[in-house]
């Protein structure tokens, strides 16, 4: 445009003068303003519509007809709803109709009118309802403004808002995941969080976290995959997924985020997986790598598909699958990394915890071994402890006279123990040189079968029959470690741990097994030595004591010998009862100093000497003097105390002499007393003449000779023990010497006897 910048633009008619100055213009304006209202209606810059309450159009202006490209004749009788899009129609029914009816008007309703050519006219609608006096609706008057630009702007605004909301929603997902993962303490916890959150975020039908077992970068080959947690996936699909993953997919799976679509190619390549997907209504699997730094730990698998019962219908056409959007891919990568880092953290935590657990375990095992009394009990309890706390199976084999023999085999799961027992029955004697236990013992080195294949190979090699193989297979062991127990070159046995999927064996477990085997081998060694010695000394002592006292007319007699409960120690306690010529009997109870084989041997010799010297029936004091004087001749290595007596059963005449021994008890009729026998020095000490006590054993009374083990109970002094003895004897002395002995042992000695006890009791009839 050129010309005068200060001049108004030329008017539509002729002049550039102000209208006020032109009467013709004024009248024209007046004409326009007062013009035909019908023209204003018809050509107003907005659409006018009048409809009946049901929406039928009864009046419409030209503007609306022009906008929609429809002739008035087409529109009259048509329902307004029919000009709307489907969405608009629903909005009309659910919002506009009720609003008009309830409040008589609607304002600024966004609505799209379908033009005759099918295109849409974006409008804003205002409407009022006209009613009669009763409130019955008569007519609806509506105005429509074209709002294309405004609506476009609003749509753009909406789209931007949507994007912002989605991004916010994703941030919220990540925040929640981070928050939940912070509380996770086990791989299972991590799996639960990631599976549930990932599934919800992607609205997937199901999800599973599959982790690589062992080291993913193990150069030995394809890593094993283990589903840790799955949600909403059928067992069938999970199995197919594992099978597919276990083969060539295993490495592919962990290489990048990908979508496995149920298509013709998958049907051809992985027919089983494809069939399982079809059966589950899954259309594609989104596989998300789970990694920490560059370490590939596993994958999160999200199964997407048609919604299940109770889910909302998807707006995607059935059978179609939509690849994850870039924003979703971004989210999934983040989830995978978060999960990976959390897994690494809980693994470290788990390792620390396991270390603590192993240390505590070894301590407990040491305590168990220190407390246990005998080898078979120790071995049983130790195997139980290992099976409950450390490995799935613990077996201990011991070297016996028959060779390497299974002592115990325990399974953690009581339900599987019978399998193990049957297996154990089959190779109670381990004969195969290939058996890991046998090899461990032969080579003196730990044998570690690290995986199921190795275990299988060994089972095949040592199997005695098919049942053996079958049993071993059913135990599903994935690893075994056999540690030899050797002390000073002596092979004592083998300890074997076995693990399964639930409780795999790690290098740390092998170390624990070795430490435990070392501890146990020392216990076994000590026990074996101890057992040998104990057996020897007790056998010796038993052979040195008279089997049972001879019958003596007029007397009831009883003898008891009770060994100390603890240790290999064997005492030198003894008793003897000999019938002398002339109806007399000679009695002796003694105690050789010391608790060992020497003491026992000395006792044996001494008893023989005493018997020899008693042959001519010397009075007790004479016998003591003779023994004292001739002590040097016998070359006895220990001193001894002893109480000697002779008794005439017919008269009750009783003579007693003591060589440093505790006095005897006389009891009957509810009373008991120590006979006042004055002891001389013990045998083997420089001789001093012995004194003899003489008295009578009344009919029905009982004489008791005993050694100090009876009154030296743990914790109390000997006087207390002596008093207790009288108390019990007074009550228990009823003419039956055997019963008296038993009552005394029962009431005066506990479960633990520090010393041997010899008792000799006789009652005169």
């Amino acid at each position: 445009m050129t010309g005068r910048s200060d001049a108004p633009p030329p008017g539509p008619d002729d002049g550039s003068d102000a209208p006020r100055s032109d009467p013709e213009a004024s009248s024209r304006l007046a004409r326009l303003l007062e013009g035909d209202p019908a023209d204003l209606y018809e050509n107003a810059p907005m659409g006018y519509l009048s409809t009946l309450p049901d929406g039928r159009i009864v009046k419409v202006n030209r503007t609306f007809c022009a906008w929609t490209g429809r002739a008035p004749g087409d529109l009259l009788g048509t329902r307004l709803q029919e000009l709307l899009t489907v969405g608009g129609r629903v909005f009309h029914e659910t919002h506009i109709v009720p609003l008009l009816r309830m409040q008589g008007a609607v304002r600024e309703i966004a609505i799209d009118i379908t033009r005759i050519d099918g295109s849409l006219l974006a409008c804003l609608l205002n409407a009022v309802e006209l009613r009669d006096d009763d409130g019955t609706p008569l007519l609806i008057r509506a105005t429509l403004f074209e709002a294309t630009a405004r609506r476009r702007y609003e749509r753009e605004l909406l789209a931007a808002q949507r994007l912002a909301e989605e991004s916010e929603a994703r941030s919220r997902v990540v925040q929640k995941v981070v928050f939940d993962l912070a509380a996770a303490t086990t791989p299972e916890d991590v799996a639960t969080v990631i599976v549930q959150r990932g599934r919800a975020a992607m609205k997937a039908r199901g999800a599973a976290l599959v982790l690589v077992e062992g080291e993913a970068d193990d150069p030995r080959g394809v890593p094993q995959l283990r589903p840790v947690r799955s949600d909403g996936l059928s067992a069938g699909l999970l199995r197919r997924l594992r099978e597919a993953a276990g083969s060539r997919l295993a490495l592919e799976l962990v290489q990048g985020l990908r979508s496995i679509v149920l298509d013709a190619r998958l049907r051809a390549d992985q027919p089983d997986l494809a069939a399982a997907m079809v059966a589950d209504g899954v259309t594609d699997l989104v596989v998300v790598p789970v990694s920490a730094d560059s370490k590939r730990l596993g994958v999160l698998v999200l199964a997407r598909g048609a919604p299940g019962r109770g889910d909302l219908i998807s707006l995607d056409e059935p059978g179609s699958s939509r690849p994850p959007s870039p924003a979703e891919v971004d989210l999934l990568w983040t989830l995978g990394r978060q999960a990976g880092q959390a897994l690494e953290r809980v693994r470290l935590h788990e390792q620390t915890r396991l270390q603590g657990e192993r240390a505590a375990f070894l301590l407990e095992a040491a305590r168990l071994m220190a407390d246990a009394d005998d080898v078979s009990e120790t071995v049983q309890r130790l195997a139980g402890l290992v099976a409950s706390r450390l490995a799935t199976v613990c077996a201990i084999e011991l070297v016996t006279e028959q060779g390497l023999t299974r002592a115990v085999a325990r399974h953690r799961d009581g339900a599987r123990q019978p399998l193990l027992d049957r297996l154990r029955a089959k190779d109670a004697l381990l004969r195969s040189p290939l058996h890991p236990a046998v090899r461990a013992l032969r080579e003196g080195r730990t044998q570690w079968m690290r995986d199921r294949e190795e275990v299988r190979a060994v089972v095949d090699a040592v199997a005695v029959d098919d049942e053996f193989r079958d049993l071993a297979e059913q135990l599903e062991l994935t690893a075994t470690v056999s540690v030899p127990m050797v002390v000073d070159g002596r092979r004592l046995g083998v300890m074997t741990f076995a693990g399964d999927r639930q409780r795999p064996l790690t290098a740390a477990d092998v170390e624990v097994a070795e430490q435990l085997a070392l501890q146990l081998s020392q216990v076994l060694d000590k026990a074996q030595r101890f057992e040998l010695e104990e057996r020897t000394s007790h056998t010796l002592q038993a052979s040195l004591l008279p089997p049972s006292p001879p019958d003596v007319p007029g007397l009831d007699t009883a003898v008891r010998y009770v060994a100390a409960t603890h240790g290999v120690d064997v005492g030198g306690d003894f008793y003897d009862l000999v019938r002398l010529p002339g109806e007399q009997v000679s009695l002796v109870v003694g105690d050789v100093v010391g608790h060992d084989i020497t003491a026992a041997a000395t006792m044996g010799q001494l008893r023989t000497v005493i018997r020899a010297m008693s042959a001519d029936g010397p009075p007790p004091a004479v016998l003591v003097d003779r023994l004292q004087r001739s002590w040097g001749l016998y070359e006895l290595q220990r001193m001894a105390t002893a109480l000697f007596a002779t008794l005439d059963p017919a008269t009750g005449g009783l003579r007693i002499a003591s060589a440093g021994h505790l006095p005897p008890v006389l009891c009957g009729s509810g009373r008991a007393e120590y006979l006042p026998v004055r002891p001389t020095r013990m045998l083997g000490a420089p001789p001093v003449p012995a004194e003899e006590w003489a008295g009578e054993l009344p009919v029905g009374a009982t004489l008791l000779l005993f050694t100090d083990g009876l009154v030296e109970s743990t914790g109390a002094d000997i006087d207390t023990g002596l008093d207790r003895l009288l108390e019990v004897a007074a009550k228990a002395c009823a003419g039956d010497p055997g019963e008296l002995c038993d009552r005394l042992l029962e009431e005066l000695t506990g479960d633990h006897r520090a010393d041997d006890i010899a008792l000799l009791a006789l009652t005169r009839r």
Binding site: T85, G87, E93, V97, P98, R107, E108, G310, I313, E317
Partner: protein, 266 residues
């Protein structure tokens, strides 16, 4: 106690000892939709009205997107309302999506219900193989868009007024389109839940008298859908109303009232 009543803005009127009629509004507006019908039963029934959470004057803070991500969440509320009021032998009158909410509530606590009245029900809006719901997926996508367009208007124009001037209630009174007002995100989710649910299987096992009210020329729940519902519920009664559209309780309250009354009168 009372939290359920406040949450759903439950109002009770009519005869205290009368048979309870629980009116449940559908997607779009709120309990005032029953204004022309419910009072007609107040003389001889106990009349219960309420707003679904997220609609009308319900407690918006009770809106939990997870709970109300399916119709079951709404059905739970219905059961809670009946239990809270100690109702039994309830006649549940559900409009539109509330007809299915009633079905779910019935399955959840059948002992509470004595009869179901379904006004314009549809167990599934989206067509399926061997089933006509009246809408394609694209239609529903269009519908959700249409709702968005209007809710944007709502949020842009109204939200500042409401939020910025809580001390000037006269502004709130000036709001147009007021009783169908819903927060946009809630409305969007309620629309999704309404139009994307599939409750066909839930029609099985209904063992109380059931009335299906089918409008003429209902663009939301067309006649084949009402007939389907009727066929799936053995013993149900199908009444075709002369009223057109989807909201007969507003467009033809007398006819609607008469049909319900006839159904309830032995």
């Amino acid at each position: 106690m009372g939290s359920v009543v406040a949450r759903n803005r439950v109002s009770v009127s009519g005869v205290p000892g009368g048979r309870p009629l629980v009116f449940s509004h559908g997607f779009g507006c709120d309990q005032t939709l029953w204004r022309l019908v419910a009072p007609c039963f107040a003389d001889d029934h106990r009349v219960v009205l309420f707003d679904h959470v997220g609609s009308g004057q319900s407690d918006l803070s009770a809106y939990d997107p997870d709970k109300y991500g399916s119709l079951a969440g709404y059905a739970n509320d219905v059961v809670e309302i009946c239990q809270e009021l100690g109702l039994s032998d309830v006649v549940f009158v559900g409009h539109s999506v509330s007809a299915m909410i009633g079905v779910l509530a019935y399955h959840r606590a059948p002992e509470l219900f004595g009869a179901l009245v379904m006004v314009g029900p549809s167990p599934r809006y989206v067509d399926d193989v061997g089933y006509v719901g009246g809408f394609s997926r694209a239609d529903i996508a269009d519908l959700l868009d249409a709702l968005d367009s209007n809710h944007l208007g709502w949020s842009a124009q109204m939200a500042p007024v409401i939020m910025g001037n809580p001390d000037r209630p006269e502004l709130a009174a000036e709001l147009t389109n007021s009783f169908c007002r819903t927060a946009p995100d809630i409305a969007r989710q309620f629309a999704r839940v309404t139009f994307l649910s599939d409750n066909r299987a839930d029609l099985q096992g209904i063992e109380v008298p059931t009335l299906v009210l089918q409008c003429s020329e209902d663009p939301i729940a067309p006649s084949p859908v009402g007939e389907y519902v009727h066929r799936q519920i053995p013993g149900s009664e199908l009444v075709r109303l002369r009223a057109t559209g989807h909201v007969p309780q507003l467009s033809a309250p007398e006819e609607t009232t008469a049909a319900i009354r006839a159904f309830l009168t032995p």
